[in-house]
Amino acid sequence: MKRVVITGAGTVNALGMNAPDTMSAMRDGICGIGPLEFRDVERLTIQIGGQVKGFDAHHAFSRHQVSLYDRFTQFALVAAAEAIAQSGLDFTEELSHRSGVILGTAGGGISTSDDNYRTVYEEGKNRVHPFVVPKLMNSAAASHISMEYNLKGPSFTVSTACASSNHAIAQAFEMVRSGMAPVMIAGGSESMLCFGGVKAWEGLRVLSRDACRPFSANRNGMVQGEGAGIFVFEEYERARARGADILCEISGYAMTSDAADIVMPSKEGAARAMAGALTDARINADEVGYINAHGTGTMANDKTECAAVMDVFGEHARRLMISSTKSMHGHLIGGTGAVELLACIMALRDGVIAPTIGYQEPDPDCALDVVPNQARKAKVTVALSNAFAFGGMNAVIVLRTPQA
């Protein structure tokens, strides 16, 4: 089996237009959640979100490209450009034939659907733009990245609701580890902050009207976000030989299914995912210094997740740090695990643990060190990234500082 490292990272999200700015905002405990701005927002009960503001598609892309790219594709392309530039890779010849891109998304081009449903249903028009299908398809972002960077190997999109990015990352990792691909681009993208995208979530009655406060006793729900996180996964010896800057190593993962409920989380399914990931990575539970929690800020997720952590880590659960950066960038749904991977990289590479902001009251059901409100300096060698989706599809990634 090959070792796998990350040699490039890129993002667009409510905290920043690139990875350094995002990590800086996480370090400073900045809240990227604010009033939503889009058509018909006044008809929503929930009017806050982690919206990407000041993103100028016309600056990043040509007029033709803008007409062809849904916002989730735009985010993915900008994040991929950053990640691939950082890696220094040029996909030519053999490398291009064996490298691909795997992305996670839950909604795909949902704002394209929203806009065009409005056109035909509300405005009563009988004609839509010819690019509706290539814009809205869930695989559009992965396709455009493959085209932009000449990636001719295995490429596809996975959709497992809130765990989409982690499933995508796990799959890309497995391809590099097995030797199937020398390099894979992976991550996720989501742009669900449009009228229909928020209205649908509103119906479920799990969104907060004021803030995302994971693990806090007075938490009252999740807050949606948007954006993308894209990474370059590369075989270790290859990265070392070309002198690449290694951000961290990925050492294992596990995927489990609760097989139980379409919305309620399961402690057992989450625990099996964390324990399975540690086994896969051949890492002892007491080596884990930081967990980037799924931490949605709902009553059900946070207490279930903490109970699962207690089950897996025992006494060590009280010594490790666990934080939810969703408090800052919101819940990016299918893109969330990718943006949250940046908090893991920051912990491992920079020794800075991102905080859980908005934390106000201790909850006895979440009695762990949730790094409340302020970032912390700490030396961490192993970090976990948790994602536990609606429908009980779980994926946990294990990352570590690169070993010699």
Binding site: R205, V206, V263, T298, M299
Partner: protein
Amino acid sequence: MSTRDQVIAILADQAFLDPSDVSIDSTLEQLGIDSMGVVESIFVIEEAFNISVPFNANQPGAADFDITSVASIIAGVERLRAEQA
């Protein structure tokens, strides 16, 4: 149909019971209505009475709409109908 009978009919439908088997003192849990069923019941009530029910699944007890029992839901609907008329 009275508000009371309509609410009972809606909850009975959710619980797969005959309305005559729904006691006014029952809790939703006793009727076998789970958290998803609660959210769906509230949606059906909103549609039936054309009202907006303040309910957050994360704080089922905190909202000023009491879902403790069939009786408390009826009282809540009657109040909201008066307020939002």
